[in-house]
Subunit: 342 residues, 4 copies
Amino acid sequence: MHHSVAILGASGYTGAELVRLIADHPTMRIAAMSADRKAGLSMAEVFPHLRHLDLPMLCRIEDIYFSGIDLVFCALPHATSQAVIRDLPAGVRVVDLSADFRLRDPAEYQKWYGKPHDAPDLQAEAVYGLTEFYRDQIRSARLVAGTGCNAATGQYALRPLIAAGVIDLDEIIIDLKAAVSGAGRSLKENLLHAELSEGYNAYAVGGTHRHLGEFDQEFSAIAGRPVRVQFTPHLIPANRGILATVYVRGDAARVHETLATAYAAEPFLSVLPFGQTPSTHHVRGSNHVHIGVTGDRIPGRAIAVAVLDNLTKGSSGQALQNANLMLGVEETAGLTMAPLFP
Amino acid sequence: MHHSVAILGASGYTGAELVRLIADHPTMRIAAMSADRKAGLSMAEVFPHLRHLDLPMLCRIEDIYFSGIDLVFCALPHATSQAVIRDLPAGVRVVDLSADFRLRDPAEYQKWYGKPHDAPDLQAEAVYGLTEFYRDQIRSARLVAGTGCNAATGQYALRPLIAAGVIDLDEIIIDLKAAVSGAGRSLKENLLHAELSEGYNAYAVGGTHRHLGEFDQEFSAIAGRPVRVQFTPHLIPANRGILATVYVRGDAARVHETLATAYAAEPFLSVLPFGQTPSTHHVRGSNHVHIGVTGDRIPGRAIAVAVLDNLTKGSSGQALQNANLMLGVEETAGLTMAPLFP
Amino acid sequence: MHHSVAILGASGYTGAELVRLIADHPTMRIAAMSADRKAGLSMAEVFPHLRHLDLPMLCRIEDIYFSGIDLVFCALPHATSQAVIRDLPAGVRVVDLSADFRLRDPAEYQKWYGKPHDAPDLQAEAVYGLTEFYRDQIRSARLVAGTGCNAATGQYALRPLIAAGVIDLDEIIIDLKAAVSGAGRSLKENLLHAELSEGYNAYAVGGTHRHLGEFDQEFSAIAGRPVRVQFTPHLIPANRGILATVYVRGDAARVHETLATAYAAEPFLSVLPFGQTPSTHHVRGSNHVHIGVTGDRIPGRAIAVAVLDNLTKGSSGQALQNANLMLGVEETAGLTMAPLFP
Amino acid sequence: MHHSVAILGASGYTGAELVRLIADHPTMRIAAMSADRKAGLSMAEVFPHLRHLDLPMLCRIEDIYFSGIDLVFCALPHATSQAVIRDLPAGVRVVDLSADFRLRDPAEYQKWYGKPHDAPDLQAEAVYGLTEFYRDQIRSARLVAGTGCNAATGQYALRPLIAAGVIDLDEIIIDLKAAVSGAGRSLKENLLHAELSEGYNAYAVGGTHRHLGEFDQEFSAIAGRPVRVQFTPHLIPANRGILATVYVRGDAARVHETLATAYAAEPFLSVLPFGQTPSTHHVRGSNHVHIGVTGDRIPGRAIAVAVLDNLTKGSSGQALQNANLMLGVEETAGLTMAPLFP
């Protein structure tokens, strides 16, 4: 059995990461890859680390013949994706890695992204791609919306706690530390090695980061009432990794037990023994999430720390895991590689 | 006018940083440097970046003739310092960079450091070395206790707020990100380049970091009642820098104004315009502290972010600033270098 | 079909890398892992990035029952390996990752390693493990000696050139840049993040690095007369990767053609188009070697640049490739993962 | 005594480095700073690490009133500088940090930079700014041409050797490792943190790097006959530092002695004891050059390794040192800071 897939927007980091993962996938074959500004180039010219693979040349989207394609990964930039996906042939199933279909409410989309949505029908139909919590819908979905990488990390630490009612919903702080590849391959001064390495800073402080839209949507849906968290991301001099330090009010042992129980059967989610803390070092290049819980010296407070690789579990690995579900393949196919350390 | 100083424990990072700073000091001359295990070596052999300086050979403490020494910097390890300082000639003035004299209460010392203090009389006499808040006592002190580098960073963000009563004292969270040189030159597996670079993690989660002793002591003294903060440090793959993200409850504009007013005349403390956030990149190698304040989207909450260089303002720069006060020298002498960027 | 393997010395970086690779191997199962000082611990305690794998506990070598073991990977430190391997049951096949069996001549071993060999009989029997050049002997070997990681890199650039007689044998310079994991997990001051990151240096300058013993042995054997190269390694602030810049005298086009022809059928060796240069970024975490050749502006001189990942192709990946040959498995089994970038 | 200086092109790294150094200069004051695209901004907005300094606003060059300016530092991009400097008022003395006036021969300029020079008269008049070798001409020069940072590093290792005739002029190889800030603040994909960190590569292989023009000009002038070296630069994941590994033919002891003698009185050039090797770590942020010499195991060959900080001694520090000579100030003024380590 083989599955033909196309990757739209293959010249960015999430596109390259998809190729890396699919290269070892038992049934998937890459039939087409688009990159508008680099159409006509080989992938080896754009990403020399993939030069050993037998891949189609980069092309323009309009040159892809979708009729034999089982599934499309759309790794295009935010705002570009919605129109492209809207115009795909009706039967094509899509895993989108952009932000375009994460928010179900058109008003919320407009609020966080500053413009009306171009494909509101699809927006309503899209399934939120946090695999472990939307498995059934993903299996039958036509369009799955990949989550924000920061949003995924925070949710892994918090969803079971909100669902179980073991924490105070008005006292949640997510202090998050993100590596630089999450910003993509864009040419910005603050992403230069000379500007970024050897130092770090907070950004989007005070509740302005767009991934808050996802937190609001998901946490409120679980709780059945509005939930508003505090969220402060920081940019760290590393290439891969997200670490979310989550401050909650509740009994630390119950917090730990709730997470451990919720994830006991999950292939990629590990809850460490109580009191241990995870490190981004130990998930790099893999689809694994490590979560640790510790009680604070102040009774009734706990700290949960979750880590994942933003390009893998936070983006392309998640996308592949969802595609596996959609295609009826083993959910972990192509995702079993161990983390790279050191 | 010249001042003769000695550096005890010159083979560690804080010792080397003292030498770097004093090398450009207008009145200070290094008369002696000790490093027990490296006695007999030149500083160039231990720290080749200082090879151009004309420095005394490293010696043992007992080989230092203290009678001509105006001031001693003690950069020895924690627990070692207290006995050494106790046994120095009575007239010698001392700036200690260890943790040994930071806590005034013997019970607190025992609680956080796990053993009784060897010099309780000196402990009672020592002045806490957070320069901007203890200037007068420092000028006349015989013994000044350098603060913890993390403790200094958090206090710069919080002391004026606690003193002014503009924040809720029971709802303070300090999420701190520290570079690796704060751990010193010790040979530990987690400090190896291969283990540390490209990843990061929390440590001492839940209220077990010793610098909490300083927060407790100082914040409670200011408030006139017990104050207990939450404090989570993280280890970041960079060599210098501390960034404290401090979550408080109070009016953000008042928080900003309180800090800006408190530090308006300070040579090394800059409060950024409201809503801007600082970066460790911009204080590296300098004695400067940058502080930013932003309001959260949740009314009544604010985030203050403070950054400094742990080896300079967080340790050796602070020590030199205090020594300048003790010796009646211009407070900023030897400390005016601009940060190194990139 | 399953193959049972044991890993001796599993608590070092090459041991952990073996586990990472074998985890995705189609036929190999890890039956035992030793780590004397960490016997009794789980691998997750020593290398948390491997916590998701179902692995045997770390044990002492004497607790391993070798009768059911098809092959042993020996990742012990230099000098320790020889006695351990000597004392293994006679029928056990071994891939050694240490330096102990690389040099066939006892005098050369003594010269470079400063002591007589403990197992001279095995030394004579061991096959040098540079896979592409010793395939037939490796298939039937009882003991394969993994090459030095630097030695492998230089040889990939030079062996076909020496064999074809297209370069001047007396004018070869290998200027090599090595990442830090090649030094292992040992606690040395110069391997600390604070000492290593943001700077670099040459070491073992002038012909004192032990991998010269391998260059001398192999190049002289190919040429049929003594060949002595110049070799200067440098330590670079990165965790994985070796880049060898090799200066040769000869016609650049012939140099390129000779390498391209020699490696045309090799699964892991890629010769880039003439004039292109490789980067360690593009082989990280993989078993691939990229080689580029450029002509100098001075006629008759060429520069060949070879890159590989020291822990994978330079050590554990090579070991697994050799083990595959010995066990009659597909040579590339467990080694097909693409490089990790960024 | 005060000297008024202007900095043209203050928004790049060399401009910022000039400001850092001049901030501690005893007589120099910055009267004007230009940055065409950022005119109207404060330096703190462009380089927040300089926010504590009292500096003029960034302006356009045409808004600078040059009559009170004693000296102009021109830190504009290559090719832009020549026309700007040509049009400055005749009496203004200039230290140029660009490549525009390094080559004295118009044909060589055209060869390496691909276009005719816009100010050939000035080109003929400009003094090559390698301070230690052109001091007398620099003192009285109207225009000093800052050297290439790579070119400076190689020359420090080689000039005395060529002058003394102790090495073979036809067998010189410079294998150079450069940190990223030498590429400036330009937005290029390969300079992004995600692309550069954790890996390294050669570039401009085979004799195409423009700094070869300087090597050719200077070495040939010293030797009195054409000298052509091999030169291969590499890009290393660090922000500051250049290390040149120079392979020469000659007696190693004489090579060492020649360099040690030549630089014995130099304030910024240190030759290490024979057999020791320098590191870029130990010159970072300083104006110092460290040079080590080792003999190879092949008789008659030696390796010299030179390190410096590309932004300081390789560019802005050199510029300030030259400006000091031109203004009759102490040559080391503003340049005495010790390196920053770690």
